[in-house]
């Protein structure tokens, strides 16, 4: 599991006894962010009426996220568009950059995804209480449920609400880690089986790389769309 190791780059930085050193994880976060900025810069450099390839790709991403938000959370979620857009791009690029050989996958670390998910969870809860006050607690009491079942349903709802950050973060982290581990395992088989039998796992490895690219995109999409759904719960009380 060498590929998941975090190691320090440069001097050790300690603030109040907490190690905040620059690591390979930080490096790849910056690489992802810079790549996003570079891509968006090139995509918006020329404002053509008929877009070029890069401009079209940028506008496709924009439309994709805008449509996702309006479909799941409605027009009230428009102010949160830049956040969802940044989140999707960041997670997508971290996943994609991680697909490169010798690269570090930022999102394969539970702490990174957990911080993102916790931030979303706290922000969504905050927005919910800000918009609806204590009526937001109605989210735990669905309407149209028999009185006898209500306490049970409420408890289940509370547990499911509280487990949102966990499920959100573990889903992304586990997918990324499992994919990379699997690639490594098949890569190891190629070496151990040698020239004679190594072709089969190599084929699998190639196929899995394709699958992993799909998963990288899909998980970024899932992360973003779940954020939208949570936001929708906070903005529009349906219960």
């Amino acid at each position: 599991m060498h590929q998941f190791n975090v190691h320090r780059i440069g001097p050790e930085v300690k603030i109040a006894g907490i190690d905040l050193s620059f690591t390979n994880s930080s490096l790849f976060m910056i690489i992802s962010a810079v790549t996003i900025c570079l891509f968006l810069f090139l995509a918006t450099k020329e404002k053509k009426l008929i877009p070029g390839k890069l401009q079209l790709t940028g506008e496709l991403f924009y439309d994709f996220i805008a449509k996702m938000i309006s479909d799941t959370a409605g027009s009230k979620a428009k102010p949160y568009f830049p956040f969802i857009f940044s989140l999707f791009m960041f997670v997508l690029l971290c996943n994609m950059v991680g697909m490169l050989p010798y690269a570090f996958t930022v999102t394969s670390h539970i702490i990174v995804t957990l911080i993102l998910a916790l931030f979303i969870f706290i922000a969504v809860t905050f927005i919910g209480f800000l918009k609806h006050g204590f009526k937001y607690l109605k989210i735990f009491v669905p309407s149209g449920v028999p009185v006898l079942l209500l306490p049970l349903i409420t408890i289940i709802e509370i547990i499911s609400y509280l487990s949102r950050p966990v499920s959100l973060s573990v889903r992304l982290f586990a997918n990324m880690m499992a994919g990379h581990t699997m690639l490594k395992v098949f890569g190891g088989f190629v070496i151990s089986l040698g020239l004679l039998g190594g072709w089969l796992p190599l084929t699998f490895s190639v196929a899995l790389t394709g699958l992993e690219i799909l998963v990288a995109f899909l998980q970024a999409y899932v992360f973003a769309i779940l954020t939208c759904i949570y936001l929708n719960d906070a903005l529009n009380l349906h219960h």
């Binding site: 962010a33 918006t44 404002k47 702490i111």
Partner: protein, 191 residues
């Protein structure tokens, strides 16, 4: 007792995590958790600010410009279409009017021609009639003259014949009477 339990629980949990990290899960090694969180917050915040302040307005602006352009173009096209339709109606009206005018001119000229024709025909007929009457008159005069001259010639011939045969001269007035009588009887046969 309770403290001991907590310590042992803590030890167990940390030990578990450390063991897992050593066994191949670097994700569970807490050494760099703070660093990762710290850098994540910094990088993501900067990225968010750049995207929301710089790139999203740019893309949005460009999309809006295009949308407006398309909308304007569509509106222009609609206006032009309406104009074309109006012009077509006008054109049709002009054609209709021209057709009517042509028909009117045709009928008018036909009437005029008919009238002219009739007038000329009448004129010519009158002239023909006049000429006809004149000629008839002349013929009648010629007839009359010819009758009287025939009568006088026949009188002379008769008187000569009688003279030659009998040697007498008959009364001219009696001859005249006979001849006029005969000519009156037979004149209708020849004239």
């Amino acid at each position: 007792m309770r403290q001991l339990f907590l310590i042992s629980l803590n030890y167990l949990v940390i030990g578990e995590v450390l063991y897992a990290a050593e066994a191949g899960m670097p994700q569970l090694d807490p050494t760099y958790w703070a660093s990762q969180g710290f850098w994540l917050i910094i990088v993501f915040s900067i990225l968010y600010i750049i995207i929301s302040k710089l790139f999203i307005p740019r893309i949005k602006n460009n999309l809006e410009v295009r949308e407006n352009k398309i909308k304007n173009d569509l509106e222009d096209a609609k206006n032009l279409k309406e104009l074309a339709e109006k012009k077509e109606i006008e054109y049709k009206e002009v054609i209709q009017k021209a057709k009517k005018d042509v028909a009117k001119i045709f009928i008018d000229s036909k009437k005029k021609l008919d009238k002219d024709l009739r007038v000329k025909k009448d004129l010519i007929e009158k002239e023909i009639n006049k000429e006809f009457k004149k000629t008839e008159k002349e013929i009648n005069e010629l007839k009359k003259n010819s009758i009287s001259s025939i009568n006088s010639i026949s009188e002379k011939i008769v008187s000569k014949i009688i003279e030659d045969i009998s040697g007498d001269k008959l009364n001219e007035s009696s001859i005249k009477a006979v001849i006029s009588d005969i000519s009156k009887k037979n004149l209708d046969k020849y004239l």
